[in-house]
């Protein structure tokens, strides 16, 4: 069975869980796949480590925990240091390139794609949408889920009145992701 294990890591306040939720929702509700989501929070919320584990598969998922992610999305240096060594061989790292510098923790054979998501979010007008830029970047680079599914999942997950800017953030991340994937493949 086709199965992808995804981990999202960052700090509380960056929207890590929202990013995981949207990916899970896009897969299960809009793409007709099976998905599970596990959220992990640090001892305190804002500013402390937090992560989400998402498993997407064609069939029902028996074991929802992500041990060696195929795709790792990281938004903070700590999350990178903690989770990058667990990436499966041939896996993909998607990282916030203004906040994280790659080093030898990255396993060999992993393909890494960076995006200045915070900067993009600020340019769009709200730092808050950084996680949506990352979500778009994920969709663009991996092609794991259809553009439409993730777009719908974004639209239905964000608060009323904020859809417009969030969808722009999504598209910005998506397009940048497509470009980066094309360059590296």
């Amino acid at each position: 069975m086709q199965k992808s294990e995804i981990r999202v890591g960052g700090l509380g306040g960056q929207g890590v869980i929202l990013c995981g939720m949207i990916i899970g929702k896009a897969a299960s509700i809009f793409d007709g796949k099976h998905a599970t989501l596990i959220q992990a929070f640090g001892p305190e919320a804002r500013g402390s480590a937090c992560s989400a584990q998402v498993t997407v598969a064609d069939e029902a998922i028996g074991y929802p925990y992500v041990k060696n992610p195929d795709v790792l999305i990281v938004m903070s240096p700590d999350a990178y240091t903690q989770f990058a060594p667990q990436l499966s061989p041939g896996g993909m790292l998607l990282y916030e390139s203004d906040l994280i510098t790659l080093d030898e923790t990255l396993p060999k054979g992993v393909r890494a794609f960076g995006v200045p998501a915070t900067r993009f979010a600020e340019e769009l007008g709200r730092r808050l949408v950084l996680n949506i830029v990352m979500t778009g970047f994920f969709a663009g680079v991996t092609g794991l889920l259809s553009f439409e599914s993730v777009e719908k999942a974004v639209k239905s997950s964000v608060p009323k009145g904020t859809e417009d800017l969030n969808l722009r953030a999504f598209r910005k991340g998506y397009e940048y992701g497509r470009e980066q994937a094309a360059v590296k493949n």
């Binding site: 306040g13 929207g15 929202l18 959220q39 929070f41 919320a45 709200r126 996680n131 009145g161 969030n166």
Partner: protein, 198 residues
């Protein structure tokens, strides 16, 4: 910036159809003609001297740089309204925008001013603006009423701040509306609080 969802066709209260779209450089003549056609009484209360020869060039530069987002209303090839959102691209007030709206006399009181203001408020929130201001001369009762109905509240009065063409000093009213609350929900959503910890 590119604005999505335009041109729009707007039916005014009396049935008149007006096309609303972003201003383009090719509109120079039509917009200037619109402003020149406004009676002096109206132009008295515009912040800029829109009949000044250099006005269009200055305005077009602001539009090109993104400091101004301008929409125009058009009917039968003529400009019948202009509405702009001014904002600072740098500095400590990048979260603040200012609206300025003018509607041709013949089309007033049919909802065009309100529709343009609403459209610009939408664009402003999209741009990440939190607070929207207007500056109106105290005796512009119509404009003050329209913005009041749109949720703007008086924030300050600057005494004798405006001099009209006759040299009479008038008070300037600053009113504003806060649109940041829509982002509070997003902030809560990305807080990544564990429900059990709240």
């Amino acid at each position: 910036m590119t604005l999505e969802g335009f041109p729009q066709s707007l039916a005014l209260r009396d049935g008149t159809l007006v096309t609303v779209r972003p201003l383009e450089t090719a509109d120079a003549k039509a917009v200037q003609a619109f402003y020149r056609s406004l009676p002096e009484e109206d132009r008295l209360y515009l912040k800029d001297d829109v009949t000044d020869a250099g006005w269009w060039q200055r305005f077009a530069t602001l539009v090109a740089s993104g400091e101004v987002v301008s929409l125009i209303g058009e009917r039968e090839g003529k400009v019948v309204a202009e509405a702009s959102l001014y904002r600072a691209l740098r500095g400590w007030s990048t979260h603040v925008g200012e609206l300025r709206i003018s509607v041709a006399r013949a089309l007033r009181r049919d909802g065009l001013g309100t529709a343009l203001a609403r459209e610009l408020v939408k664009i402003a929130t999209r741009l990440g603006i939190d607070k929207i201001m207007i500056e109106v001369v105290e005796n512009q009762a119509g404009a003050r009423r329209m913005f009041r109905r749109l949720g703007f509240r008086q924030e300050a009065v600057l005494r004798g701040h405006v001099k009209d063409i006759n040299g009479t000093k008038r008070n300037l009213v600053l009113a504003s509306t806060d649109v940041s609350h829509i982002w509070d929900a997003m902030e809560a959503l990305v807080a990544d609080f564990s429900p059990s910890q709240e």
